[in-house]
């Protein structure tokens, strides 16, 4: 499934492949340990080395947000909230895998609006929804 931002990070910030694999397996393990009995949208939090990880399960999809320094667990929980609500918005309901892939393009656009090269850009769901359609936000 799409690891859009992951890849984005790889290209932008030079996260080397082996590190990326390390991260991938680390997160998958983290998820496997904890997410199995998770309720929908229940937040999980962990820290590893100097980074924080906030993750959750949305329908069939697990979402991990990783940050460090000023992006601590609280900011990340904000981010993950925006992501989950945008994804739900795009899919109209908690996504199944199929639905998620169907809306892949749209979700990519949402994520593009939320984070840009590691910087938080937008946090408002309706604004993001409008922005992905190139409509100006309602509140100015």
């Amino acid at each position: 499934m799409g690891s859009r931002f992951w890849e984005g990070q790889k290209r932008d910030r030079g996260v080397p492949t082996e590190e990326r694999l390390h991260w991938r397996s680390f997160l998958v393990k983290l998820g496997a340990d904890n997410l199995r009995r998770a309720k929908n949208e229940e937040l999980f939090v962990a820290s590893h080395k100097s980074v924080y990880i906030v993750y959750t399960m949305l329908g069939d999809v697990s979402i991990y947000v990783v940050g460090k320094d000023e992006y601590d667990e609280l900011t990340l929980s904000e981010v993950i909230y925006v992501i989950t609500s945008s994804v739900k918005d795009a899919c109209d309901k908690p996504p199944t895998e199929r639905l998620f892939l169907d809306k892949y393009g749209k979700i990519c656009l949402c994520l593009d609006e939320i984070v840009w090269k590691g910087l938080l850009e937008s946090t408002d769901k309706s604004r993001i929804r409008r922005l992905t359609r190139l409509k100006p936000p309602t509140d100015v």
Binding site: M1, S3, H22, A46, Y71, L76
Partner: protein, 1005 residues
């Protein structure tokens, strides 16, 4: 800079039939991308194709240069379409393709057009894309528009421009810095996000200007900051300002504290937490300041949101941690206040924390446990241990390690409670677990045994039990070694023999060999056991492994009364228990070099110099502490190469054994015609300068290259020979040597000026042929010096405390120095290390930030093979006066004196290291000094304990025993030589993996 990675889980099987991307293939998608060229664009279909392309890219598929260019050009055609969804996709696609510089031109005009479009959203997106793909020339062209965009009334456009600014600041900081007026204006924006982004950018622009940051904070803390995110940023900047200002004005009300406190009442949790954390991290925070912050954190502890609970417990844990460090480490002096107040403040939260032990989130539970273990008092220990026992079974290994480490420090804090904790440790030792976890437990038990004498027997017993059923060879050998050192000193050594001999029967060869060594140690120490040990050792003579047999033979001979190899009893013990004083890496290289030759191996020829690891390597990010595999490499090969080089020159063969080769020192500026550096080789009665010369001019060939050395400022040296370099062609380095004689064994110092002399010949670059005729020429080089540190070999010791105590206290020389005003302790410490040229031990070369005193442990070998140990304590007072107490122990009292002379001379050293240095009495008043020294004494009493506990690599000698043993075997049976050598290499190989410090610390929560 933050790097939030966002990732979608992909462990679900994406190849299943229902995926819309099932069977997706790059070639096919690229074919489909032709629709972009249609004169009548089908926007919907184009969007779908772009989605597929994005999917491919995100799956890690790479496009070749041609493919990427093709797709990129095709995508640019889509700018014709007016469809908004498609346009949005196009922007994203261009960003993801990140076109090369020559392709960017194609889209620039389209994007520039969009940037000035009436549609706001076109503008915002165009800015983002342009900034992503732009370079500095293009940036100057669009700078005007970007400045406008920053103050655009549409917040999306403004934010896009601001965030672009943040990114561009890294590459084109000069340009972005010119925008600060506009950014300043944007900070006042009414839109929350614009304010957030503007604040971040403004701070980054001005971060090196303290005054500007301070002004920014002052104005904003008064005004209203809308977005919670911006508020958090502001709190961070505020605490930064407080940090920087408090170093200047020590007393009085803390500036901005009111602001931080008011943030504790903010409606957003994020802001409240940020403020609470900022307060707890203030340096020298008082209980009064801390209380409201702790109260807020306490409320968070019982929040329904896991994130808040985690954040709160993490912060509390950190408070405790900082005070714990204050308690144990050198900085105790500075943090005394903190240590006594903070745990009390946190203790109020104990009840809330106890309920978190059963938290579903394991990270939270572990943090709660470790915090409680640190705040807990003696009476609550037993209850806690009970709770932890229930909790241990269902957490992962990495968490368990954290808990084990916490228990270890708790036990050191309350030594009386050792019984319950030792029991706990032995219980968990019996349970399932990975290597790191078991290692942490064994490590803890070993430390407790060392530190709490009462716990010794019970601890050793637990370890014995453990090796009965231990699957890790490494741990078994370590424990056996430890047992060999500690066991014989117990009241009833005989009871351990059974456990040890069982290893000989049941285990693999490595463990068996260790067990044989351990048996021998018991035999050497306990006379009553000796006959029985002999019986056991004789049985080992029939072992299937030759290493085990060799060891048994060796020990039987060394310990045996009749056939004496070792000589006196003292020698035997020294041989069994003494450290191996050669660095293992060096030994390994020497053995590798030796393998082919047929003269007996001489361990005395192994170089003893340890080069410190380059700093970069230590800092290498992402390198895991558990990297058992990688053997240390590099530095010694250089020393070896020197040794080889020098021994190949017959003139130097009479100089004896090379004592030390210094690292190369440049004698020319970079990028000059001739590059020359010098390596100083120190022999007992000689010094050889090796000049490495490189000719960087292709049109020249140098011949008869020599260095004329003027030693008029080095009275004790007299030149004995010069070895010229016959020819020095372009770009192929060569060496010329100059040798000096000096009084034997005396650390003579001096200054030498150098002049490079040569015959230069013109070379035709086309043919590479040199002219017949040459011209004599010379070239001035920089001066070089022989300093006292050149006579000191950097040789570390594995356990400084032991080594120190084993040195004769009569040879100790102590003196006190006032060093005058210094910038920082760290700088002073490294200057002293440089002057004496010794190896810092146990990481004491690192001075913790802001610490007011520090003790550095140094070890080395002085010329004449004299071991030297130095304990040097520093203290700095408010006015930055530094005092130093230097205690030197060595095998020779004269050398101890000599070290003091070196340090004293260092103050007037030519390099001006002590520029402002003075003797006591001149700069510091006597009373001040006495006060500071008393402080050291108090500390050092505690410190030795701590040092012993945390001393790295204490138990290496199992292998060492093997090495020493094998070495002597060479003498006994030469026939085995070659065979053994290969065994040794293998053993060494194993070893290089295992010489990781015993107490590796894990960063896992």
């Amino acid at each position: 800079m933050a790097q939030p990675f966002v990732k979608k889980d992909d462990d679900l099987d994406e190849e299943e039939e229902y995926s819309p991307f099932y069977g997706i293939e790059k070639g096919a998608v690229l074919q489909e991308a032709r629709v972009f060229h249609d004169p009548q664009l089908d926007a919907r279909r184009c969007s779908q194709v772009i989605t597929k392309l994005l999917y491919l890219l995100n799956q890690g598929e790479t496009f070749t240069k041609v493919e990427a260019t093709e797709v990129f050009f095709a995508v640019t055609k889509l700018f014709q379409s007016k469809d908004t969804v498609l346009r949005r996709m196009v922007y994203l696609m261009i960003k993801d393709l990140s076109p090369s510089a020559d392709e960017v031109i194609i889209v620039t005009s389209s994007l520039m057009k969009d940037m000035n479009s009436k549609t706001d959203m076109y503008r915002a997106n165009a800015i983002r894309v342009l900034c992503r793909i732009t370079d500095s020339t293009l940036l100057t062209q669009i700078e005007r528009y970007l400045k406008q965009a920053i103050v655009d009334k549409n917040p999306v456009v403004a934010s896009a421009a601001l965030v672009s600014g943040v990114h561009l600041l890294q590459t084109n900081s000069e340009i972005v810095k010119r925008w600060s007026n506009e950014v300043q204006e944007a900070v006042q924006s009414r839109a929350a996000l614009v304010q957030f982004h503007a604040l971040a950018l403004l701070h980054q622009i001005r971060q090196n200007d303290r005054l500007a940051v301070s002004k920014l904070v002052t104005s904003l803390t008064k005004g209203s900051v809308r977005s919670p995110l911006a508020q958090c940023l502001l709190i961070r900047y505020t605490s930064q300002v407080i940090r920087e200002s408090s170093t200047n004005t020590q007393a009085g009300e803390r500036p901005f504290f009111d602001y931080l406190e008011s943030c504790l009442r903010h409606k957003s949790e994020m802001v409240v937490f940020e403020a609470a954390r900022a307060i707890t991290e203030l340096s020298g925070v008082t209980s009064r300041e801390l209380t409201p912050a702790i109260t807020v954190l306490q409320l968070f502890l019982s929040s329904s949101k896991p994130v808040l609970r985690f954040a709160a417990i993490r912060t509390l844990n950190k408070i405790i941690l900082s005070s714990m460090y204050g308690f144990n480490e050198q900085s105790r002096f500075a943090k005394k206040m903190v240590a006594s107040t903070h745990p009390l403040a946190v203790t109020n939260c104990n009840i809330d924390m106890e309920s978190l032990i059963s938290d579903q989130n394991r990270s939270i539970a572990t943090l709660a446990i470790t915090t409680l273990l640190k705040t807990g008092n003696e009476s609550s220990v037993d209850r806690l241990m009970k709770q932890i026992t229930n909790f241990m079974s269902d957490i992962a290994d990495e968490f368990k390690i954290v808990v084990v480490e916490a228990i270890r420090s708790l036990c050191l804090k309350f030594p009386l409670k050792y019984r319950s904790m030792m029991n706990f440790l032995s219980n968990i030792l019996r349970e399932e677990g990975g290597f790191d976890y078991k290692k942490a437990i064994v490590d803890s038990i070993v430390i407790l045994i060392r530190d709490i004498p009462d716990a010794k027997e019970i601890g050793l017993f637990h370890l014995c039990e453990f090796i009965e059923d231990c699957e890790f060879t490494y741990l078994s050998t370590q424990i056996l070694h430890f047992l060999g050192n500690e066991g014989p000193k117990t009241s009833d050594p005989s009871k351990y023999i059974r456990y040890i001999y069982n290893r000989v029967i049941l285990e693999n060869a490595t463990v068996r060999a260790s067990a044989v060594s351990t048996l021998a140690k018991f035999g050497a120490m306990v006379d009553s056991l000796k006959p029985r040990i002999f019986v056991l050792l004789r049985r080992c003579l029939f072992d299937s492994d030759d290493e085990v047999r060799d060891r048994a033979t060796l020990y039987l001979n060394t310990l045996g009364t009749d056939a004496s190899v070792g000589g006196t009893d003292e020698d035997v013990k020294d041989f069994l228990f003494g450290p191996l004083d050669v660095p293992l890496v060096n030994l390994e290289t020497s053995l590798r070099n030796y393998e082919a030759s047929d003269i007996p191996f001489d361990i005395n020829l192994v170089p003893k110099e340890v080069k410190s690891q380059p700093l970069a390597e230590k800092k290498a990010p992402g390198k895991k502490a558990i990297g058992l595999g990688a053997p240390p490499s590099g530095p010694t090969t250089v020393v070896d190469a020197y040794e080889k080089l020098l021994s190949s020159i017959s003139e130097f063969s009479s100089f004896g054994k090379l004592f030390k080769s210094c690292s190369p020192m440049e004698l020319t500026e970079p990028e000059t015609e001739y590059a020359v550096n010098v390596v100083k080789h120190i022999f007992d009665g000689h010094v050889v300068f090796q000049y490495n010369c490189t000719n960087t001019i292709p049109e020249q060939l140098l011949e008869k290259v020599t260095v004329f050395v003027d030693a008029s400022e080095a009275e004790e040296f007299s030149e004995v020979l010069t070895k010229p370099l016959r020819s020095l062609p372009y770009d192929s380095p060569g060496q010329t040597f100059v040798a000096f004689e000096k009084p034997e064994g005396v650390p003579a110092i001096g200054k030498f000026s150098n002049l490079l002399k040569f015959v230069v010949k013109e070379v035709d670059p086309a043919t590479g042929e040199a002219d017949e005729e040459g011209v004599e020429d010379e070239y001035q080089l920089e001066d070089l010096e022989i300093v006292a540190a050149d006579y000191m070999l950097k040789v570390g010791v594995s356990n400084f405390k032991n080594a120190w105590e084993n040195m004769d206290p009569d040879n100790e020389r102590i003196d006190e120095y006032g060093l005058g005003v210094k910038e920082s302790l760290a700088e002073t410490v490294s200057a002293v290390i440089d002057i004496v040229g010794m190896q810092p031990c146990e990481g004491t070369e690192v001075v913790p930030n802001n610490s007011r005193s520090h003790t550095c442990l140094l070890s080395g070998i002085f010329i004449g093979n004299v071991k030297v140990l130095v304990r040097v304590s520093f203290g700095i007072d408010g006015s930055k006066q530094v005092a130093m107490k230097l205690a030197v122990r060595s095998e020779d009292p004269e050398i101890s004196e000599k070290i003091h002379e070196i340090v004293a001379e260092g103050k007037s050293s030519v390099k001006g290291k002590w520029r402002s240095g003075r003797w006591i009495g001149e700069m510091i008043t006597r009373s001040k000094l006495v006060e500071q020294l008393r402080e050291y004494q108090i500390r050092s009493q505690h410190k030795w304990g701590a040092l012993a506990a945390f001393s790295p690599k204490p138990q290496m000698a199992t292998r060492r025993g093997c090495l020493c043993g094998s070495y002597i075997c060479f003498g006994i049976c030469l026939a085995h030589t070659i065979l053994l050598c290969s065994t040794l290499l293998q053993t060494l190989h194993d070893f290089s993996g295992s010489c990781i410090p015993w107490n590796s610390s894990s960063n896992m929560p």
